[in-house]
Every structure is written in C-alpha cells, then in structure tokens.
C-alpha cells in the first residue's frame, strides 16, 4: 500500500474544497461548519481538513487534503503538507489584498517550499485581473522561489488538473 498526497491550501473561500471535489473519486469528506465570520462571505467553512482520494490501483492512491483556511489553524498547515507529493496554493483575487494573503502562505510554508513541488492558482481573476499572475510570480521571485502561477477557475476540472499537472512535472523533474 502506498499513498501519496497532494495538499490544497489557501485562504478561506479560495476554492480548496471545490478543487478536491473536482478530482476525488468519491465525494470528499468535509469538515465544514456554518460560518460565523461575516468577513469570509460564505455560509460554510472548513474547520478540520477536507479529504478526497484518487485510486491508482495496485494499492496505490493519491490522497487529496484541503487545509482549513483560517489563520488560527496555521499549526496544521505544515503538518498536513509534510512529505506531500505537491502543494497547491489557491488565492482569491476578489479579496481586498490577495498578495498579502499569498504572502501569509509563503511565510507559513517557507521551510518546505524550497524543495516542494508547488503550483499557485489564482481564482476569480477574470473579474479581478489585478494582481496579475506576473505580480504573484514577482513576489515568489523576491523570495527566491519559482513556481507555476496560473489563473484558474476551480469549478472547472480542467483548471484543477492543469495545476496538478504542473506539480507532477516538477516532481518528475526532481526524481
């Protein structure tokens, strides 16, 4: 039995649960509760972690984890991402300061990122074109990091797959 994991992280409302649901064989296991934080602008939010799975056969599987978005769960983020095949950071461009949100996750994972296969998905960028993907790439470059930065709509499976594919190429290159 060999299980690999891909972790989806990002601010509340960035689309982690939706992205996992787009890939998982079965409906994902969710730990959502009714949201009491009006600032998040959504009815439910994840307080534990989301879990989905893709069975590869031969006893192997890809486990998909979604981290809880709120900053108070930061202690869980790195635990979940340790030894992951890849990390997908989702950012919501409709938020007031998406670059600052992004920086929070770069800080939280800073010890893991230099050797991590990682992709950055920017959501709601059609309606909110700024910051541009290039600005996110610039922020990464300032920290000495180079990861794919792609505008995505996580409701579209193809977009989520595109993020995963870039992670796989990195993983394969490092193998």
């Amino acid at each position: 039995m060999k299980h690999h994991k891909i972790v989806f992280t990002g601010a509340p409302g960035a689309g982690k649960t939706t992205a996992i649901a787009a890939l998982s064989d079965a409906p994902p296991v969710l730990t959502e509760v009714r949201n009491t934080d009006a600032g998040l602008g959504k009815q439910h939010t994840t307080v534990g972690l989301d879990f989905g799975q893709v069975d590869l056969g031969d006893g192997q599987s890809i486990r998909l984890f979604g981290t809880p978005g709120q900053l108070r769960f930061e202690f869980m983020w790195r635990i979940i991402a340790t030894d992951a095949l890849g990390l997908v950071i989702l950012v919501d461009n409709a938020k007031p300061d998406p670059l600052a949100d992004f920086a929070i996750y770069l800080d939280a994972y800073k010890d893991l990122l230099p050797t991590m296969n990682c992709a950055v998905g920017i959501g709601r960028s059609l309606e909110n074109p700024l910051p541009s993907p290039d600005q996110y790439a610039e922020l990464l470059a300032d920290r000495g990091l180079v990861f794919p930065v792609l505008p995505v709509d996580v409701r579209q499976r193809e977009d989520v797959l595109m993020l995963v594919e870039t992670v796989l190429f990195q993983a394969e290159a490092r193998t």
Partner: protein, 283 residues
C-alpha cells in the same frame, strides 16, 4: 493601470451590460528593433480566442511588419480592432485611431466591406491589413536610441517579450533552470511552454532531459529556451558543473514528426497518476 501593463477585454451582452472576459498582459509585446516605429493596437469586445489569435499573429508576423505593433489598452491607439455594433471611445486618447478593423462572424452582411475581418481571425488577412495600414501611416519616427549603458532589466521584467535574436544559439551541453516564473506574455497560454517551464522550475535540466520529461519536440524546446534566454529568465550552467541526473523513470519518447496516438508505455507513478486523472503527455 499602467497602459503598458494590461489589456482588459470586455464583452457587452444583449442587455448592454459590460462583462470582463479576459485580461492579458501583452503590452510592450516585442521591443522594437532599432528604427522601427511603434504603433498601438487596441482590442475592444473581442473574445479571448480573438485576442489570443491576434497576439500570436503579431508575434509570428513581426518579420512582415515594418512597425513594432503593440497591443495597448489606451493612450496612443493607431488601430482599433473591435467587434459589436460600434467601437467605444478610446480612453485617454487625444486623437482617434487612424483606422479600425471590425471582426465579424461569418454570414453577417458587412463581411465583404473594407476594414472588416471574418472570424475566426486568419493570419494572412490580419497581417495583410496591418501591412496595408503601415503603408498609409506616416507618423513621426521614433527617437533614435542613444548609445550608452543598457537597462539592467530584461524586457520580460519590464512587461515585454524579447524575441530571440537569430544569433542566439541554445547551448547543447548546458543545463537550464528558471530564474523566475515567466510572464504571461512569454508563456502565451501554450500548454507546452507550461510543461517546459514547470520542469525547469524544479531544477537545472539539459535539453535531452527536458525533451524526455515534457514530451515536447526538441525544436519547440530549443525555441522556448531561446525565448527564455532572450528575456533573461534562465539560469544557464555548463554541463561540467551540473552533470545530468540519470533518469529513474522509463523514458517517454520525444514527439515524433507524426502524432503518436498510443499512450506512452510508462508504468511509473507519474504515468499512473496521469492516466488515472485523464492527463496525457501526447501532443
């Protein structure tokens, strides 16, 4: 918004509501060759597909064009490419555009009129139209570049894309790694560019490794590498300092001249994942 940073394409629906459709950073598309006149081209109410074609044609057709065309979002607009009932006012422009090209769907009444191009936009028709407009344009010549120290920033870092000069040869025995994720104008929403860039974001890779990992043809790899080098986006190391890492995975054959329709006979973890998720390395 810096007019040289972004184009926002909007669509007006039947109710008159303006909906943003696409935003692309395309300005300063290619630094003008010395002595080339810069002309601005603005897109209005075009679909993402229209804009993608137009941007690609401008790059591919740059040899045929006498001027350095830039897609701009305002300011000095020389040509308007638009769709819909009538073009909008060019925001920030002191003078109206010199010309406009309307993009229409096949079967519409005005399809045969001058200044009208049919969807899907065709390379020849589009470039021919720009060539004709260039002949009629006699605007001021650009300032002659003064000799002096070059700017420290690469064109890509300034928001533009440097075309690889013909003299740029991709070193065969070198290994390449991205210094930063390429700007959208360099990636051009090309899935093969995305593959190549993803591989080179992880570590230094030689061309052979890159071809094998990405399953992108060697000529395309070399062309993309040349573009990245021209834009100073690559860290290049000679092979003597970075020996190629032997691949542990079963090699995926590089792209053949004729498309291969059978899946690669690879049983590695990555191939399993790709097969399971419906991803494919085929062209």
């Amino acid at each position: 918004v810096d007019r040289a940073a972004r184009v926002v394409v909007r669509r007006v629906d039947a109710g008159g509501a303006v909906k943003p459709m696409l935003s692309v950073a395309t300005e300063k598309a290619a630094p003008a060759a010395a002595g080339k006149r810069r002309l601005g081209l603005q897109a209005q109410r075009l679909t993402p597909s229209d804009v993608a074609r137009m941007t690609t044609f401008l790059r591919v057709g740059s040899d045929r064009l006498q001027c350095a065309w830039e897609v701009v979002s305002g300011g000095e607009v020389h040509v308007l490419v638009w769709s819909g009932n009538e073009p909008d006012t060019v925001v920030g422009a002191l003078d109206g555009p010199l010309a406009s090209l309307q993009l229409v769907d096949p079967g519409t009444g005005s399809a045969d009129s001058a200044g009208v191009l049919l969807r899907p936009l065709q390379y020849e028709a589009f470039i021919d139209a720009l060539v004709a407009l260039e002949r009629g344009y006699s605007g001021p010549k650009p300032p002659v570049a003064k000799a002096g120290p070059q700017t420290a920033l690469a064109p890509a870092a300034q928001g533009g894309v440097a075309e690889p000069a013909a003299s740029i040869a991709v070193p065969k025995d070198a290994h390449f790694r991205l210094r930063r994720w390429p700007p959208a104008a360099v990636l051009q929403q090309d899935r093969y560019h995305l593959r190549l860039a993803s591989c080179m974001s992880a570590r230094h890779l030689g061309i052979d490794e890159l071809v094998r990992l990405s399953n992108v043809g060697r000529p395309q790899c070399e062309a993309f590498l040349a573009t990245l080098i021209a834009n100073e986006l690559l860290d290049v190391r000679l092979s003597a300092t970075t020996p190629a890492r032997p691949a542990k995975l079963v090699a995926v054959a590089p792209r053949a001249s004729t498309p291969d329709t059978s899946p690669p006979p690879d049983t590695s973890l990555f191939s399993k994942i790709r097969r399971r998720l419906g991803l494919t390395l085929l062209r």
